[in-house]
Amino acid sequence: MPPATPSERCLTVSDLAVGFAARGGTILALEDISFHVDAGETLSLLGESGSGKSVSAQAIMALLPDTAVVSSGTVRFDGKDLLALPRRETRRLCGTEMGMVFQDPLTALNPVFTVGDQIAELFRVRQGLGRRAAREAAADVIDTVGIPDARRRLGNYPHQFSGGMRQRLVIAMAIALKPRLLIADEPTTALDVTVQAQIMDLLGRLQREHNMAMLLITHDLGVVADVTDRVAVMYSGRIVETGDVRRVYDRPGHPYTRGLLASVPATAGGGKHQPLATIGGLPPNPQRRPQGCTFHPRCPFAQDICRTERPPMVDLGNGHGATCHFAREMVADDRLFA
């Protein structure tokens, strides 16, 4: 990986491991998670349901539930190790330095307070603004996320907004205090295609305006391609591949990434009525992950070594890496993407 100058580096996660206390032992939700996001850059965490994307975000924002145990790793933000700080200190960075957009805009807003109150609360509590000034500021933010008639709508309750507008409100809240890092956990999953396009546009615009670093969490391969610089693909609590989007998509170094890309019906309409490529089997139970490469039971290329040895992150050049014993062979294989 080309070493980025430390000044532009915004967030660095290294060797993060998070477990959950559960009946019948701990669930290791994250293992060996390392990635970084630079200022003005977008990193996408891509992966299927349960692969650990949200837990990663929660770990950074100190939002993990009490049952979670961070067993190792560091999260460096602004030179500080957030995991070493008391939770209270980390929280203090939330809102001001780090903002977060949640998946479901309906439930992410408190239903019993007006949106004005909820946004103004940020200014009042975090910046000590007076009631009126806070409201003014709130109106301004709502305006910047493109909700018309902002001032009047301050007094409305979340249920009086449509899904897309709610998501904009959540975004407004996340960027209100101009954080340097924005974490967006599946910000458009609950939305329609056309609205999704609006929201992604908005996020892109805001990111450029504020030169924010953005960590975008999604399971939609398409969304990633549009707005992302780099991508990290997660599978069963681990990052299996990371690198520049185009490189990863065009030349996936991990069979899982490869399978994922293949199973999307081609938008171009090719292969109509042809069976889609699929990944056989099921994701492992996090309490009983297979030995060696966690993907090996489902991997069409699995060899003996995959069953016994955990593959290291193989450097494929230009910041592209994959945790597969045969990553180089994968990249060299031209069968899939001619």
């Binding site: 408190n110 609360e121 509590v125 959540v170 996340a174």
Partner: protein, 307 residues
């Protein structure tokens, strides 16, 4: 809103009417005759008949019923046989005591139960939580007359801290209020605890945390406010039954409330007072329900009727 209120009032009136009819029929269906109760062992049929005629009880049932309903409209329930005064006067002399007792108990339940529930939720799974849970479980289902008796035994008889009964001194309300409050308090503790836990699991709490708000504010403002909705619904209902539950507590503590009046009046087959008490109790109950409904609208903007 007025239309809504009207509809709600309409159904409330229906409930009152239903209760009134039932109490009217019930009093006449049960054995025992007011005249006989009054005259006692020596009652002769002639005496009984004369008294019944005096009280208008010799009229046909439908006539009595109609009479009862028409006069009920102006809250006139007739004369109390036992007390020699208008039944409504008897009720209005005792109802304030019951309402006072219920309100003190309610306040107590709220002031103690609410913080205890919040505390318990925040301490989830810890020893304090378990202890509070046990306490609330006990408080919810222990017989209030037994609790009352034990409280008297302990605080009044043994420690001489509080008066054992009556409404003579200002502190006399404490023991009956505590006894009456205990079940409600326990319900509140449990509701608040589970409500807060549920509300704390909602995504908007994560949002609040992600805003960097202190945990106190997250719990105290965002958590508590949402938890109020289920709590108010149940507590409102319970407040209504608090009045009914007062019967036993009033007996144990010689509290001169409506509950005692009701018991004594039933025993004396004092139709007018029983009818008045029941109608007033039910009226109170449905009013509280309406208030709760309205409050619900205040607390939860999602059900607010706009425009």
């Amino acid at each position: 809103m007025p239309a809504y209120l009207l509809g709600r009032l309409g159904s409330a009136l229906l409930v009152v009417l239903g209760a009134a009819t039932i109490v009217f029929l019930a009093m006449r269906a049960i054995p025992g005759d007011p005249a006989v109760v009054m005259l006692g062992v020596s009652a002769t049929p002639e005496q009984v008949a004369a008294l019944r005629a005096d009280w208008g009880l010799d009229a046909p049932l439908p006539v009595q019923y109609l009479n009862f309903l028409t006069r009920m409209v102006v809250l006139d329930f007739g004369q109390s046989i036992r007390l020699g005064m208008p039944a409504m006067q008897a009720v209005s002399q005792t109802l304030p005591y019951t309402i006072y007792l219920a309100l003190v108990a309610f306040a107590l339940a709220l002031l103690v139960g609410f913080p205890l529930g919040v505390f318990s939720a925040l301490q989830r799974g810890k020893a304090a939580d378990k202890l509070i849970s046990l306490f609330s479980l006990a408080g919810q289902s222990l017989p209030s007359f037994w609790v009352g008796i034990m409280l008297v035994l302990l605080l009044s008889r043994t420690l001489h801290i509080l008066p054992s009964g009556g409404a003579g001194s200002p502190e006399a309300v404490l023991l009956p209020a505590v006894t009456l409050a205990l079940p409600l308090l326990s319900v509140i503790v449990r509701l608040v605890r589970s409500g807060l836990l549920e509300s704390m699991g909602e995504p908007y709490i994560q949002t609040a945390r992600a805003k960097g708000l202190g945990e106190t504010r997250v719990v105290g403002v965002h958590g508590v406010r949402n938890m109020l909705i289920p709590v108010v619904t149940v507590v409102g209902l319970e407040l209504g039954t608090l009045l009914g539950g007062a019967v036993i507590v009033e007996t144990v503590f010689a509290w001169p409330g409506l509950g005692r009046l009701l018991i004594d009046s039933i025993a004396a087959r004092d139709y007018a007072v029983v009818q008045a008490s029941v109608v007033m109790l039910v009226l109170f109950f449905v009013s509280i329900n309406i208030v709760v409904d309205l409050l619900y609208g205040v607390l939860d903007p999602r059900v607010r009727v706009d425009g």
